[in-house]
């Protein structure tokens, strides 16, 4: 099947605005979805679930959230780890306080709680801009993690200071807790990510998305033509934090099962998600996925090669990995500052004309 737009005419504004305007692209997307929803669950095992697919989905969710704030609205945040912690702890408190509440709603509500916290920490963005704001979001990061460490109410006074996810089911099948089958946790995460990615796409192509991008590209002009900075920025913080909160809830309840705040939600998490967004492509939904995939899969691959293949000690491999990730980020920024999504766009432009160069 060739990648062609010739003959693919649009006769209404509605069809002109669809996500995949080109037919072959549409087929490719739905084909991938069919495989993800209907084929993968039959082959998934514990290793693929816990080391590859669920991490990939959780990080994609977080990257989507940060991309809305940073990529679309232009507000750099280094507080992602802290907001994921809010999602995780909200999820834990809701799970334990309302054992009968369906886990699906628990996760959504956790996102809502995080959205509220995100709005609070987004308020300074009305006064301060750029790097000042980036540093200010670090305040959220440190304060939130400290809070979950120090206030016993958040971890239900458990002796270890950890939080552990109890078993919860959907349609009678466990999706959290130790006995949840891999295919169920995978499908649960996939459904949520699919749903929210679709909504992110809709939000970013509509009025709200345009007001975000206007603020990003030129905030003063945006205000003069009628964008309310308060509404645009705070809604970006809210929506972004919602996504990050949902990611945090899944991270804790479905993927890890038990977390300790300093380890799981440290500043490195903030940087990791930021890297995903940068490498994937700022202001691109697809980019969020590509970035998350790259930074989830690369360490798995490296570990297999260096420890499994070459037999290096794990600490050496870990150092090498840090160095390589750093180097790759610099490399990517030099080669393509707009990320993998831009590369994909370029490939498509070439494909459209292939086999003729012009």
């Amino acid at each position: 099947m060739l990648y062609r737009e010739t003959g693919d005419f649009k006769s209404s504004y509605a069809t002109d605005q669809q996500t995949f305007p080109i037919r072959s692209e549409r087929y490719l997307f739905w084909g991938a979805m069919v495989i993800a929803f209907l084929v993968v669950p039959f082959f998934i095992n514990d290793y693929w679930e816990k080391s590859v697919l669920v991490p990939l989905l959780v990080w994609s969710m977080a990257a989507l959230g940060l991309n809305i704030l940073t990529g679309y609205c232009g507000q750099v945040s280094l507080g992602t780890g802290g907001f994921m912690a809010v999602g995780a702890y909200a999820c834990y408190k809701l799970m334990t306080a309302f054992p009968d509440l369906n886990i699906f709603f628990v996760v959504i509500l956790s996102g809502g709680v995080t959205a509220f916290v995100g709005m609070l920490f987004g308020l300074p963005s009305l006064r301060i801009k750029g790097f000042y704001l980036a540093v200010a979001t670090l305040a959220a990061q440190f304060f939130l993690v400290w809070l979950f460490n120090k206030v016993p109410w958040f971890y239900n006074y458990s002796a270890s200071g950890q939080i552990t996810a109890p078993e919860r089911t959907i349609f009678g099948i466990a999706v959290t807790g130790a006995s949840a089958p891999p295919w169920a946790t995978y499908l649960f995460c996939l459904t949520l990510v699919f749903l929210f990615a679709w909504m992110a796409r809709n939000l970013t192509r509509g009025t709200l998305g345009r007001s975000w991008m206007a603020i990003r590209d030129m905030d003063i002009a945006a205000e003069i033509i009628g964008v309310q900075p308060l509404k645009a920025k705070i809604s970006a913080f809210a929506v972004s934090s919602f996504y990050i909160g949902v990611a945090g809830a899944l991270y804790f309840s479905v993927w890890l099962g038990a977390v300790e705040p300093t380890e799981a939600f440290g500043i490195n998490v903030s940087f990791l998600v930021l890297f995903m967004v940068i490498i994937g492509g700022l202001g691109s939904i697809l980019g969020s996925f590509l970035g998350a995939a790259f930074l989830t899969l690369m360490p798995v691959l490296l570990k297999n090669v260096m420890v499994g293949g070459l037999g290096w000690p794990t600490d050496l491999a870990a150092h090498f990995e840090i160095m390589l990730v750093g180097g790759l980020i610099v490399f990517f920024l030099i080669v393509e500052p707009h990320g993998l999504a831009q590369l994909w766009r370029l490939v498509k432009e070439k494909l459209r004309l292939w086999p003729f160069p012009y």
Binding site: A14, G206, A214, A222, I224
Partner: protein
């Protein structure tokens, strides 16, 4: 040439007769720190006219526009727009009251396409809820399509169909100016402020732009206040001209009156200020 307009095309119905007062600027003074940018300037803009603001560099013209649309807050004086008096106001409020503008140094949203840029102009008119937008279904979708139709008319009018889906950052200067005009028009403005719409253009581009300005004024009946340095353009286009120098008003009237005003001639030829 402005006399033969079909009043039926007038929009933004606010009960103000054509030729009635749309905007009143009263005794505006503005300073930054100790530097006075505008001193005690008053003038008015009548509905349906093209009003030019001219003056040498640093005369306070752009500051004046910034005051009108609420971006700068004057220390003294008031603005009366459509009968509503105010001194301080947020720019987006001014925008939703019907003041749209273009900028001296193009202020487009570079990462967005031409279409999206012009759609942002309709921001103040779009009302659908966030949830509805997230679903891309129902009211939000209908609204999007309806506004898209208006925007397509503007795209037609400005003859920029071919760059509809191009990110504006990639466009040449002249086209960017046109897209910016489109974005301002999309707001359906009662008052359109143009800050040097023809700066940096060649003769042909200036002619195009003059035609668009006149068409906007005549076809849509939009009131326009513009800043321009090209005297030929100003004298041809405008109904009335206000002249600023060193932040003060030194002349006001029809192009002919202004041309023969001694203070204006001095300001332009550079008579020393005692």
């Amino acid at each position: 040439m402005n006399q033969h307009i079909d009043p039926g095309t007038l929009r933004a119905d606010d009960g103000i007769e054509r030729g009635g007062m749309l905007l009143h600027v009263d005794n505006i003074s503005l300073s930054f720190g100790g530097v006075k940018a505008i001193t005690d300037v008053s003038f008015d803009v009548k509905k349906g006219e093209i009003r030019a603001i001219i003056g040498p560099n640093g005369a306070g013209k752009t500051s004046m526009l910034n005051v009108i649309n609420g971006f700068y807050h004057p220390q003294e004086g008031t603005i009366t727009f459509r009968g509503e008096k105010r001194r301080r106001m947020r720019p987006h409020r001014a925008a939703s009251q019907g003041i749209a503008r273009t900028f001296q140094n193009i202020a487009l949203f570079k990462g967005m396409t031409t279409l999206d840029n012009i759609m942002t102009g309709r921001m103040t008119l779009m009302k659908s809820s966030m949830l509805s937008q997230a679903m891309w279904w129902g009211p939000a979708h209908r609204e999007e399509i309806a506004h898209r139709e208006t925007v397509e008319k503007i795209i037609d009018f400005l003859e920029i169909e071919h760059i509809r889906k191009t990110p504006v950052g990639r466009l040449p200067y002249g086209l960017q100016k046109r897209v910016e005009l489109g974005r301002a028009l999309a707001a359906d403005p009662a008052l359109l402020l143009l800050d040097e719409p023809m700066a940096g253009m060649n003769l042909e581009e200036k002619e195009d732009m003059s035609r668009f300005v006149l068409d906007v004024n005549q076809q849509f009946g939009t009131t326009i206040a513009l800043i321009e340095h090209d005297m030929g353009v100003v004298m041809d286009l405008s109904d009335r001209v206000v002249v600023l120098d060193y932040g003060r008003k030194i002349g006001d009237g029809t192009p002919d009156e202004v041309r023969n005003n001694q203070a204006v001639i001095d300001a332009y030829l550079g008579v020393s200020h005692e």
